[in-house]
Structures are given as structure tokens and as C-alpha cells.
């Protein structure tokens, strides 16, 4: 079976979080608290990306909201925040087989914009980002079975 023929169900992809680039985590927490009142993680330093990560959730939904604030410069969200306080950054899917998912997305015209990296926040979980002008940025996270 070629990569093109990998079925989406084989990747077992589930919506994990919706990510916003923010200038001020605290101000965004206040605003989002109307929908996502639980602060599950607060300003965790993701060294690989030089950003602070905050996760918001609620009891009803399975997905989270991620707030990404630059921890310094440069950071991957600097350009997005030049003219706005908050910008929709990406949608993240948790996948069962990380490397298979990379091939799946690349073969469907998504352009890989970050080298895969092991996240600091979840040991053993890898992440990378893809871009396509018709979808914007998407992130995948999952266990890297080749590591």
C-alpha cells in the first residue's frame, strides 16, 4: 500500500486543541473563561519553540484551547502578533502513528514547516506543523514509534 492510499482512519486522528497566538496569556484566559473555565496548564515553557503554552478546557468538550505566548524573540508567532493581540494559529490533531501521519499529510500537499520535535510538556510525544494556503497551519502530535 502506498502512502497516498493510507486511509484517514488508519491515522486515527482526533481533534486535540485549537491554538491561538496571544500577546497576553492572562488577558486571553480572562476572555476565554466564559467558554473554557478550567486552566489545565499555565504558561509552560516549551523550549523547542521559545513560547509559553497554556491549556484551557471545560468539562463538556474533549478538545482544549491552547494559548501560545512568545517567551522571547524570535518565536514562531512573532510575525502573527505584529498587528493583532490574538490570532488563530493552528488546529492540532492527535494521531496514533506520528511518522505515518507525517507521510500522510506530506503526500496530500501539506508543507512541513517545523522539524519534528519531542514536546517538553508531554514526554514521548512528538509534534510538527504543516502549512497549506487552503488550510492554514495544522499541527500533529503523537507517539513516535520509530524512536
Amino acid at each position: 500500500m502506498t502512502d497516498k492510499e493510507i486511509d484517514r482512519t488508519e491515522i486515527n486522528m482526533k481533534l486535540d486543541h485549537i491554538s491561538y497566538a496571544v500577546r497576553s496569556t492572562d488577558e486571553s484566559i480572562e476572555l476565554f473563561s466564559a467558554i473554557y473555565p478550567i486552566v489545565a496548564t499555565y504558561k509552560y515553557l516549551e523550549k523547542n519553540q521559545n513560547v509559553f503554552i497554556t491549556y484551557l478546557s471545560n468539562k463538556k468538550d474533549n478538545h482544549k484551547i491552547e494559548l501560545v505566548e512568545p517567551a522571547g524573540h524570535p518565536s514562531p508567532v512573532d510575525n502573527m502578533l505584529k498587528s493583532q493581540d490574538t490570532v488563530l494559529y493552528h488546529v492540532c490533531y492527535r494521531v496514533e502513528d506520528f511518522n505515518k501521519a507525517i507521510r500522510y499529510f506530506k503526500n496530500r500537499g501539506f508543507f512541513m514547516i517545523t522539524t519534528p520535535f519531542e514536546t517538553s510538556i508531554e514526554k514521548g510525544i512528538w509534534a510538527c506543523h504543516f502549512f497549506n494556503p487552503k488550510s492554514g497551519i495544522i499541527e500533529i502530535t503523537g507517539e513516535n514509534k520509530d524512536e
Binding site: N79, G109, F111, M112, I113, T114, T115, F131, N132, P133
Partner: protein, 77 residues
């Protein structure tokens, strides 16, 4: 060979969504193109991948600075 590649690169840059009027040569610096930004750069890299069937790594996105760098990359495949 390089001349053909250059012409194909120029063709990409002169069409949508880039629509460049700049004079483009092998020595042109990509970031100096009119109204160039990081989004256009990513879209350009994606077009190069499709057109020339090369794989551009995330590191190369930032290290490819000139048209000559692109031609070299395509000739390597």
C-alpha cells in the same frame, strides 16, 4: 539546464498569488521581492516542491535565500 529552471522559477513568481513585476535573476534575494512576507515565502516553497518534485525541509525554508540557492537545490535531486 539552470537557465530552464530559472525561467520556470520566474514563471511561478510572475503568476498568482505572487504576481511579481521585479526583474528576477539568479542572484536575486528572495526576501527583497516586492511585498514579500513569511506567508508568501511558505507558499513559494510549496510551489517549488510541487513544480520540481523536490522535498524542501523546514531548515531549508530559512536557508534558501537566493534564486541561485533554489536552482542549486533543484539540480541536487
Amino acid at each position: 539546464m539552470s537557465e530552464n529552471i530559472l525561467n520556470e522559477i520566474i514563471e511561478i513568481l510572475k503568476s498568482a498569488p505572487f504576481n511579481l513585476d521585479d526583474k528576477i535573476s539568479q542572484n536575486s534575494e528572495i526576501k527583497m521581492f516586492a511585498n514579500w512576507d513569511s506567508l508568501k515565502h511558505l507558499m513559494f516553497m510549496l510551489e517549488l516542491e510541487k513544480k520540481f518534485e523536490v522535498e524542501i525541509t523546514p531548515e531549508e525554508v530559512t536557508s534558501i535565500l537566493t534564486v541561485n540557492n533554489i536552482i542549486k537545490k533543484i539540480n541536487e535531486k
